[in-house]
């Protein structure tokens, strides 16, 4: 069912919900999943993002998102200057991504500390809605419309049961869930979208399970 505030809204900085508002959300998602403000960002634009991106401010919007801004932030047009001030280096080029949505971007992000690295591919699907399609080369599919828990774990039995039981006890309802792995017995990636927010103490609890390699949590935007 249609949300009337998607009809009258979003409140956003122009000019385009897909090329500007969606781009801010993609940048912000990248920052959240990296876990910190990137020190360097290599941004590769695909399709319509590459062709009409400059005129729509897609480049500035992506950097604004990496700086933590939301789609209605009036400082979005000034994001390049702000990034320079905050010591964030970024570069743009064009890329052709196979079978990708026309409004797609691949970002390679690095934080200040050793090991803070993320490669994320995402697209803007219209009306400011986004979809993350790949993380560090592993195909995923989530939108940021829900609270999203991303867990990297050893591919072994029992993890799914442990984690879903923990969420259920914390009265967190799972809306969508997907699993993927490179090869049997290697590392696996679990993406869980939830209706309720996940309390920090629950995240910490899950983080301490043996075999959990990495946890990232994206909390959906405030109303």
């Amino acid at each position: 069912m249609i949300d009337i505030f998607d009809i009258l809204g979003p409140i956003m900085v122009g000019p385009s919900s897909s090329h500007t508002a969606g781009a801010v959300r993609i940048g912000r998602m990248g920052r959240t999943l990296l876990g910190c403000q990137p020190k360097t960002a290599k941004i590769h634009l695909h399709g319509s993002f590459a062709v009409t991106g400059v005129g729509h401010g897609t480049d500035r919007a992506l950097v604004a998102g990496l700086l933590g801004m939301k789609p209605d932030d009036l400082a979005i047009p000034d994001s390049f200057e702000l990034a320079e001030k905050q010591g964030m280096q970024f570069s743009f080029d064009e890329i052709h991504l196979k079978d990708a949505h026309p409004n797609s971007v691949l970002m390679e992000l690095e934080g200040a500390e050793e090991g803070q690295k993320l490669q994320m591919q995402a697209c803007s699907v219209g009306g400011g809605q986004i979809q993350v399609t790949s993380l560090n080369g592993v195909a995923v599919n989530f939108t940021g419309a829900y609270n999203t828990l991303i867990i990297q774990n050893r591919d072994d039995r029992g993890y799914i049961a442990d984690i879903t039981t923990t969420l259920s006890r914390a009265r967190v309802n799972i809306a969508n869930m997907s699993l993927s792995r490179g090869h049997r017995g290697g590392d696996a990636l679990m993406v869980i979208e939830t209706d309720e927010r996940i309390p920090p103490v629950v995240l910490q609890f899950i983080r301490e399970f043996t075999g959990i390699l990495h946890i990232t949590y994206y909390e959906k935007e405030d109303e």
């Binding site: 249609i2 979003p10 319509s48």
Partner: protein, 319 residues
């Protein structure tokens, strides 16, 4: 209730004795699982964001391409010093539609209504009327709920996206939403709101989406004026008792059908219409050259700034 048929909503309004805005408010509470107050306050926030955007307009700003800016101010200056052909109110509507479209193109904060490209239509008719008639804010919010019902039905039966249905789906939908809101504010009945929506859409049926260089600038900004003026005409006709011979849901379905059959060249691809005129192509080439110049440069490279702020597109900034 689902917002998927104007006739269903209008019928329910008559049978239950509830106002349309109330039906939409209740539907929002149910859909997003929020309280009455939360829904109402979010609508208030949306309305105030619209007014704030209108008030923050400056004729000095220019878009990234340099194609858009300053026209809203020109019309304001004109009606301040001349008796305009359509009278002051009409001139105010035109100025407001241009100003909001320019705000969007110049990366200012706007309310997509229903899209960013058509964000000027609703505020263009609502804000001047609100100021002239000194309408209480709560009544404006009721009118916005009515507009949401209309946009919701169009989105579920046809489309509100230019890429899917052409400009008729963006400015046409905005015009229909505005026509319904105006009819409500003018004291029109539920069936009259339906007729206003039908007439507004019929008048813009087939409008193509042909943006120069693919940007939300030309002709988008000025088409907001067409959508706004059309909404006023449709609302006045409806309240006067003029009826649409084709029922509103059938008109919306026709719009969806036309949109699906529009060649892809006329659906936001910049491959037809104004986008491929000699002038349209020249602008596209200029934008492409500025894109090539910035390729692979980084912020550490001083040439970056040259490339992103070419001489023909003055940098926009806070006034």
């Amino acid at each position: 209730m689902d917002l998927d048929s104007m006739e269903k909503i209008l019928q329910y309004a008559q049978e239950s004795g509830k106002a349309i805005w109330e039906i939409v408010l209740e539907s929002d509470m149910e859909n997003r699982m929020v309280s009455r107050e939360a829904s109402w306050e979010k609508m208030r926030h949306t309305w105030r964001a619209m007014v704030e955007s209108a008030d923050s307009y400056s004729g000095q700003r220019r878009s990234r391409s340099g194609l858009v800016g300053g026209d809203g101010q020109k019309v304001s200056d004109y009606y301040a010093t001349h008796a305009s052909i359509g009278g002051t109110f009409t001139a105010q509507v035109i100025a407001q539609a241009l100003a909001m479209g320019e705000n969007n193109a110049c990366m200012r904060r706007i309310v997509a209504a229903p899209t960013a490209g058509s964000c000027g239509v609703m505020p263009a008719v609502l804000i001047p009327l609100w100021r002239r008639e000194q309408i209480p804010e709560d009544r404006m919010l009721e009118a916005l709920y009515v507009a949401c019902a209309i946009g919701g039905v169009i989105a579920s039966r046809a489309s509100i996206s230019g890429a899917a249905g052409g400009c008729q789906a963006e400015v046409g939908s905005a015009s229909a939403m505005a026509a319904g809101a105006l009819t409500y504010l003018q004291g029109g009945s539920a069936p009259q709101i339906g007729h206003a929506v039908a007439m507004a859409i019929k008048n813009l049926l087939g409008l193509v989406c042909d943006p120069v260089a693919g940007l939300v600038e030309v002709p988008c900004v000025k088409r907001n004026v067409a959508g706004a003026m059309n909404a006023i005409a449709a609302a006045d006709m409806a309240v006067a008792g003029v009826e649409s011979r084709v029922p509103v849901d059938e008109v919306i379905d026709a719009m969806g059908d036309v949109g699906r059959r529009l060649p892809v060249e006329f659906r936001e691809t910049a491959m037809g219409g104004l986008a491929v005129t000699p002038t349209g192509r020249a602008v596209q080439q200029r934008m492409q050259q500025s894109r090539k110049r910035q390729r692979t440069l980084t912020i550490k490279d001083s040439r970056w700034k040259l490339a992103t702020a070419p001489a023909d597109a003055p940098a926009e900034g806070e006034a």
